[in-house]
Symmetry: C2
Subunit: 164 residues, 2 copies
DNA sequence: TAAGTCATGTAAAAAGTTACATGATTCT
DNA sequence: AGAATCATGTAACTTTTTACATGACTTA
């Protein structure tokens, strides 16, 4: 892919589990190339700007394969919804209920979107040796997590209303 | 609280939904104080170093109350588990299964920990006007999410084993 | 004609991490 | 005696975001 393509794939609604802007991607591709992990080929186009199409080298693929199953360190979470919860007691309960309802709707919309993607036949078979395996696997993750978030937000909104 | 206390509250296993190191906290408290959001009082101690105990000002509390229910912008997710999934097809299936099993165990341990905390009686009543409301609310969130993560990881591990 | 897409980059600023720095007390 | 806890900070570095910069072609 080109740097531009990578950036587009990390935009919503495609890139729901990772993000990076083009200003990070271009220098990173250059670093990876200097390290011998990727190489590029300039593809000339006449109706649009030329592009650099990158592909992994043998060394890059081998490093990738090692990384994939390497030790995962516990992620550093920043869940603003729960952080805000620490201070809801000073907020207006009506405004708080509205916020949780908004968040529930956002999560529910995301679940609906994932469910549509799940129905696409190009997704591929649930076979690990298939490069499309990820889409079979990652969508259920998104559905499960966002359903749980939606349920929690609905519950919060309900509690905030009855408390008042 | 003092900067040191804040830093400790953001360490695991207490601070599971937000993190910041002391090197971020001390300058931030100074900035907040310059902005009139907090003020501090030096508390002298003879067996240990003196400390600065911070408390919010009226302006700080009011800004906090506004922030709590303000518009939440969609979070920028970086879920390394799902990112890695894109490349599992080049990895060794056995090593991948082991990784997902490790992650499932981590998530299950976290759920068990949350369940223990849920049983603590000091947690307070589920009343929004109670400052302890957050602990009543945030623990079920953690339980729901981490249970879903654990189930997904178990499912992945199982699929990777049968595929081989 | 103005805005949007394709395509590449750099620069400046903000946010976050890791390391440096100090010093008394307390635990092993 | 050495490591850990309490307590404060700064410095260097890495990562990420936002803004600057360019330019052809396409769509409204």
């Amino acid at each position: 892919m080109s740097g531009y393509d990578l950036a587009r794939h990390l935009e919503r609604p495609i890139g729901i589990f990772w993000n990076a802007s083009h200003s990070q991607i271009y220098p990173e591709l250059a670093r990876l190339e200097a390290a011998g992990m990727v190489e590029h080929e300039v593809v000339a186009q006449d109706d649009r700007p030329d592009k650099k199409v990158y592909r992994p080298t043998a060394a890059g693929l081998s490093a990738l394969a090692t990384w994939v199953t390497s030790e995962l360190e516990p992620e550093k979470r920043k869940i603003e919804l729960l952080l805000r919860m620490l201070s809801v007691w000073i907020a207006d309960p009506g405004a708080a209920a509205a916020m949780y309802t908004r968040e529930a709707e956002r999560a529910e919309a995301e679940v609906a979107h994932f469910r549509i993607l799940e129905r696409h036949p190009e997704r591929g078979s649930p076979d690990i040796r298939d490069p499309w395996f990820a889409s079979t696997a990652n969508l259920p993750y998104g559905v499960a997590i966002q359903s749980a978030v939606a349920a929690w937000c609905r519950e919060m909104a309900a509690q905030l209303v009855t408390d008042v």
